[in-house]
């Protein structure tokens, strides 16, 4: 069984998915099928939870498979009688009022709303994104790297992409992109900076084709920052719209899995982000046109850093079974002067010492909430314009290690997974379609081989073709398999409240961990749901 999580995930009859949960000592009800979110009284929450749980126990579908068969059925019944006991503590008039409120919201189609009639378009409109494995060389050997996992991924580990292959890949992307205007190219590795001259030349080549083909390229790059140096800054700050730097957090945590690279990586990253922040400020002040943010989105970095031309960065890290207190790592990164942070659970196959297992989930759940609290606190202080003088024991620790450089002075902590835009987020079709691997997103290896995404690289079954010869006709079915698997096609996701945020998760995780394309990676699901609850709860405080 998963968990220790107190919040039942439940579906009622007719496909309605209502999720009642508690975070930060407050009560919330989230209506998955309509997207509405309410902060509620305890009684209201209990009633919604009971109603959902009864519906779920009656229909006994979907959630069963997620929560795990007969055991969960029993657990639900026990849950319902416990809920009834709690509800009985309220007075008759309180009950009546709360029931009336729920009824009003049902009639108003705010709560217990029937699912929208989504007819997945499953359109193949061509490519829009490409991951270029610019080199498989790496100057680090991280303990959890999938390139090291023996899947044969980076078979020839010192392979570098030639400019000829890179150009051909860009041509292939343009030719396969149909009417799309915005195209993305992510430089990935290995360590992309180890093939920097070719990388630059590919960017200039692509830029040279933009006008002719009416395309706009957005380049991104993921680096371990070990070789990141002043000589790269100008180029990265002019041409690369998002630079993602891998740092795992506290020195001891980082060093243990990332080959003792903390000091150098941290120094390089600080210098880079400082330069990038100045470049960004110059763009904003110069208002040269390309840097305009969208109206009303100023607080939402996800919107801000989209294709507006503003140069963004992320510090991304990985947490493993060995640092389940990962909130400390996020806070550590923030304290070093970085504002945009993403920390991800590692995904590893059975038996690895760093693997996250189901018995870790309860602790991880608590940790996301602890992180949420810390983020809320920091951001409310930032929005008040000063770090509060009244220090609680909790943020005293935080204060002790004040930012050594001023990159993020007065900057909110933008933790990627808590960043949900409740107004202008993605459309329904995007929400059900996930990553687009194999249909709108592909990966190209140094020798020009095409795979559905970077994580499938090296899996011969998923080799789709080559940038020179195009897609192999015998492998077209693979793209179709990706295209035809939306979250609505996954039975295990049917009753999941997170489905329009998660889209069914990562195909590669399903294949790598479960060896089953259509399954879900359940440990990942539980972590996803934990952080989504926290993110939703943070919306109520308008802090993310």
């Amino acid at each position: 069984m998963f968990g220790g999580l107190s919040n039942l995930v439940v579906a009622t009859k007719g496909g309605v998915v209502v999720h009642a949960f508690k975070r930060f000592g407050k009560h919330f009800v989230y209506d998955t099928e309509s997207g509405s979110l309410l902060e509620t009284s305890k009684l209201f929450y209990l009633l919604c939870k009971a109603e959902s749980a009864v519906g779920s126990a009656e229909s006994a579908v979907g959630a069963e498979s997620v929560l795990g068969g007969a055991e969960s059925s029993k657990q639900k019944c026990a849950g319902v009688s416990q809920l009834e006991k709690e509800i009985a503590k309220f007075t008759a008039s309180e009950l009546e009022q709360a029931r009336r409120d729920i009824e009003t919201l049902k009639v108003g189609e705010i709560l217990f709303v029937k699912p929208p009639d989504i007819k997945p378009q499953k359109l193949n409109r061509g490519l829009k994104a490409m991951c270029l494995h610019i080199t498989h060389k790496c100057n680090l050997a991280c303990k959890y790297c999938f390139a090291e996992s023996g899947e044969g991924l980076y078979g020839a580990a010192d392979e570098c992409m030639s400019l000829a292959v890179g150009k051909r890949a860009i041509d292939f992307l343009i030719a396969s992109s149909g009417a799309r205007q915005n195209l993305e190219v992510d430089f990935f590795g290995g360590e992309p900076l180890l093939n920097f001259e070719v990388l630059k030349a590919i960017v200039y080549y692509a830029r040279g084709l933009e006008g002719k083909h009416s395309k706009k390229f957005n380049f991104t790059l993921t680096t371990n920052a070990l070789a990141l140096d002043k000589k790269h800054f100008d180029f990265l700050n002019t041409e690369i719209f998002n630079v993602v730097i891998s740092i795992d957090g506290r020195e001891s945590v980082h060093n243990k899995v990332r080959n003792n690279s903390y000091k150098r990586v941290m120094d390089n990253a600080k210098a880079f982000v400082k330069a990038r922040t100045s470049a960004r400020v110059a763009i904003e002040n110069g208002a040269s046109g390309s840097g305009a943010t969208k109206k009303g989105s100023s607080k939402n970095y996800a919107s801000e850093n989209s294709r507006g031309g503003i140069k963004s960065y992320y510090i991304r890290g990985t947490f493993t079974a060995e640092n389940l207190d990962f909130a400390n790592d996020v806070l550590h990164i923030y304290k070093q002067g970085f504002s945009n942070i993403s920390l991800e659970p590692v995904v590893l196959k059975g038996g690895h010492r760093l693997e996250i297992k189901s018995e870790h989930l309860a602790q991880i759940d608590k940790e996301y909430e602890r992180l949420g609290k810390a983020v809320a606190k920091i951001n409310s202080e930032v929005s008040k314009g000063e770090i509060s003088k009244k220090q609680t024991a909790e943020n005293k620790a935080l204060k002790n290690e004040a930012p050594k450089n001023a990159n993020n002075k007065n900057q909110p902590l933008n933790f990627f997974h808590f960043n949900i835009d409740k107004f202008t987020g993605p459309c329904v079709e995007k929400r059900i379609n996930a990553c687009g691997a194999g249909t709108e997103y592909i990966a190209v290896t140094p020798n020009g081989d095409i795979y559905p995404c970077h994580q499938f690289a090296g899996f011969s079954e998923y080799l789709l073709g080559n940038v020179y010869d195009g897609l192999n006709k015998d492998k077209i079915y693979i793209g179709e398999k990706f295209l035809n698997t939306t979250v609505l096609d996954r039975l295990e996701c049917e009753a999941c409240f997170a489905k329009y945020h998660c889209s069914g998760g990562c195909f590669a995780n399903s294949v790598v961990v479960n060896n089953n394309f259509y399954s879900v990676y359940r440990v990942g699901c539980e972590m996803f749901k934990s952080r989504l609850e926290v993110a939703l709860a943070l919306l109520s405080q308008k802090l993310m």
């Binding site: 209506d31 929208p116 915005n182 989105s297 990627f416 202008t424 987020g425 990553c435 970077h454 939703l536």
Partner: protein, 61 residues
């Protein structure tokens, strides 16, 4: 505010299915090794839709 509930986010899914899918937004890999975007924190690139949603936001706030 009602003593039992406060609406934090209004329903949108049912309205939204009519205007969706222009295909111009960023791709969204969810894997731990990547820029790893959860789908929901992707931003929308469709100006018409964003403007409509912004108007709704203003009306609501």
């Amino acid at each position: 505010m009602n003593s039992n509930f406060k609406i934090i986010a209004s329903p949108f899914m049912q309205k939204d299915i009519k205007v969706s899918n222009c295909g111009e937004c960023a791709s969204s890999c969810q894997s731990a090794c990547k820029t790893s975007c959860t789908v929901a924190n992707q931003s929308c690139e469709n100006e018409t839709r964003v403007n409509t949603l912004e108007q709704q936001r203003e009306a609501q706030e």
